[in-house]
Symmetry: C2
Subunit: 463 residues, 2 copies
């Protein structure tokens, strides 16, 4: 009985590979193979990444450099010869970092390397440190037990190719401060959500739950968290944490968009992109100038083909991803009604390591086409990973509107050595790995744009 | 004729291995073999290093932490059970660092990670950057050509086991500012004398030649030097450099000395040691808490033997090495008349990497004994390196007074990744490599203290 059911299911699966299925034409596959090889020899991705990190440098959302980054992106799309370049406004609250410091007080007095978490208020607090091994331990502390004290969540993230250690590290950053406030804490410190061993603390956005009074919140560098742990092993430790930072009105930045116009279905687009903003500590090289370079260069290679692909290739440089996916949300809202015209959408926002896996969120009728794209990517060392992956950060809001995601999984083994630190600079990027990314994005975007049939994107009715 | 001379010389050399030669007794060699194995299993070196870097942390000469470091060293010698512990005053000018920053001005505005060089005056200067590939290029600039400008020496040190790349990097730091002032510069920047790629600039002392008016002088982190080079490739770059630092009177610190008293010739000593002070940016782990841990632990292992060695083992924690060998000079002055009673002297001040070579500056009559010590060190992976080496920094002044140096060469391949940076913290030390160092110092010091005969030390007549 079970075997019979299985056989029926298999038959159904086989029969579903019908003429109605989405397919990539053979001619497009041939073209993609050439595109792939040209991309590996092309240094446009590197040059774009170098240009953004050098000429603009750090570009915190809402800062003076945010406007320069927008101007840079418009000029770069134009300089590369994209068919259309435009911007769409993105408005968000502006957070400003002015200064931050921390020091151990008393007989072992010494400075600690810290960085304020994005969204932290200013203020100077002194208090005894209470250490917690992880977020759950903090959440389990008795009510009121942290009154007048500084909570310290000392969780050590582990490095992995898929960055899965960030689930816990990122959760501590997002939810730790609110949990600490609920227990009465006057300040919050965490071991950076990182995997390096340098004196470069990792910043990143935090959020305070409604109804709570925010307290100064910061991350210690990994060696400083080690040091604080060693000091705590000797007895009580008192720390002074001083932050000058805070929210300062609203700011309107821009999503910057460049498009290669499709030859036969210009209103249908393959959306690729990356975020234009960065944290302020480094020059935002792996996060996310690399993604901007990869996707701009990939589309540019498609532009250089003898003829435009059937559909348009849209490259989106998102405003303010770091503080809450503001650019991704704005684009999704604005284009929700046209979700069905976005064939596939992918964001490159996990550094500059080689891509090792590919998948899409497409339904059954486009699985064969997904596999065809994966096969075209295979010479780049990329595996087809059915059942895996998901939308990149800024694609999430669009996926919620009905757009099918594509997933080009980057090797993130080193990503959290650098993520959100002063160390996120151009020298950390391997130009050959970057070119492999460009090749993958070019092949993927081109083939999706040439597909006969869709990948299941469909505007969802407004709730 | 030449052959005959050679034969005569060889005969002389052979005959010089007479009963008058210094020798290590067989019993001492047996004891040393046991000492070596015990040292490899002992974690005292690690514990001492951990204690100093954790409890005192950064200990800039003349700072509040300098006094804490002196108190720590006295207490640690006592706690370990050294036979004698005392201090000797060391007076030096006190330099204070308060703040430092630099930023690119104009269309590519962005901050640069800098640290003031030790000895730099305070001041804020703005000027166009003039880049030089090395010190010679700066020295060759036309007179007056840097008026109102900031000199930038962009020399990239290379890493090597023996640290030889530091000769040029260190010279730029010491002599670059004066060279820049002579050409009219209002400020001085250098690519850090380092071999890492992190946003941690390398500080270190500089000196301004007599008659020159010092200008603010700082080192850029390696990635920032790269960045400045990329910006300069695009056109003129203006930078603001702001330093608040300067000299502030005199300070008296202490050389802290612990001794294991010799059983038969207590007035004769084998001198080992390391410097107690550190720069202020890191916790002075590899520079030079490791050396303090290595030498304290080595003497402590000798203390634990069934009987004291013939001569005394003296461990010296030098005051203020970083700003001009003040502790080494003070000790040499004070003990010059007793130079002949210092059998051999060695300083551990090149990190915590494994020791790979050994030699002494002993004359011919003690070469055989030097070789015997080297043979006892060979199981630790240490080679006898006749004709190589020299005195460690604080041993230089003593060697000039007639004391024979010993050289235990540490692998410094990674040393300039960390040297004088915020990244010089405990986590960078490999406990197993540290134990190998302890074993080498224990074997060396014990055998020297048991030698029958001397190593050529002899007080030089006052000039």
């Amino acid at each position: 009985m079970r075997l019979a059911l299985l056989a029926a299911a298999l038959l159904l699966a086989a029969s579903s590979a019908t003429a109605a299925d989405t397919r990539i034409p053979a001619k497009a596959l041939e073209q993609a193979a050439q595109l792939r090889e040209r991309a590996l020899a092309d240094d446009t991705g590197w040059k774009v990444t170098e240009s953004l990190t050098t000429e603009v440098g750090p570009r915190l959302a809402g800062s003076e450099a945010d406007a320069r980054a927008v101007a840079w992106a418009k000029a770069k799309f134009a300089e590369l010869g994209f068919d259309r370049v435009w911007t769409e406004p993105v408005t968000f609250p502006k957070w400003v970092r002015r200064s931050e410091s921390a020091e151990v007080l008393g007989p072992h007095a010494q400075p600690l390397a810290v960085t304020a978490l994005g969204g932290s208020p200013g203020g100077t607090v002194e208090g005894e440190i209470v250490r917690f091994a992880d977020l759950a331990a903090l959440q389990a502390a008795p009510e009121g037990s942290l009154a007048g004290k500084i909570a310290f969540v000392d969780y050590q993230m582990t490095a992995s190719r898929d960055g899965s250690g960030y689930a816990q590290g990122g959760a501590i950053r997002s939810r730790g401060p609110s949990a600490a406030i609920r227990k009465g804490a006057s300040g919050f410190l965490m071991r950076s959500a990182g995997t390096d061993n340098h004196r470069v603390p990792h910043t990143g956005i935090t959020r305070y739950d409604e109804g709570l009074t925010p307290v100064p919140s910061a991350a210690l560098s990994i060696p400083d968290a080690d040091q604080l742990g060693r000091l705590l092993a000797r007895g009580p430790v008192k720390v002074r944490l001083a932050i000058d930072a805070g929210w300062d009105g609203e700011y309107t930045s821009q999503n910057v968009i460049g498009e290669i116009t499709g030859r036969s279905r210009p209103d249908e687009v393959v959306l690729i992109g990356a975020h234009l903003d960065s944290w302020d500590l480094g020059t935002g090289a792996i996060d996310d100038a690399a993604g901007v370079g990869i996707t701009m260069a990939a589309a540019n290679l498609i532009r250089q083909l003898p003829q435009r692909p059937a559909r348009s290739i849209r490259v989106l440089a998102y405003a303010n991803e770091e503080q809450g996916l503001h650019g991704g949300k704005a684009y999704a809202e604005r284009h929700a009604a046209n979700a069905g015209r976005h064939l596939l959408a992918a964001e490159s926002d996990f550094g500059a390591g080689r891509i090792y896996a590919f998948n899409t969120g497409a339904p059954e009728h486009a699985r064969a086409a997904t596999r065809q794209i994966a096969e075209a990517l295979a010479p780049l060392g990329i595996e087809y990973a059915p059942g895996k992956g998901g939308p990149g950060p800024d694609i999430g809001p669009l996926a919620a509107k009905g757009v099918t995601w594509a997933w080009l999984a980057q090797d993130g083994s080193d990503y959290f050595h650098l993520h959100h630190t002063a160390d996120d600079t151009l020298d950390k990027i391997d130009p050959a790995a970057l070119a492999q990314n460009v090749a993958a994005y070019a092949v993927f975007a081109y083939l999706a744009a040439e597909a006969e049939g869709d990948f299941g994107s469909q505007a969802k009715p407004a709730p």
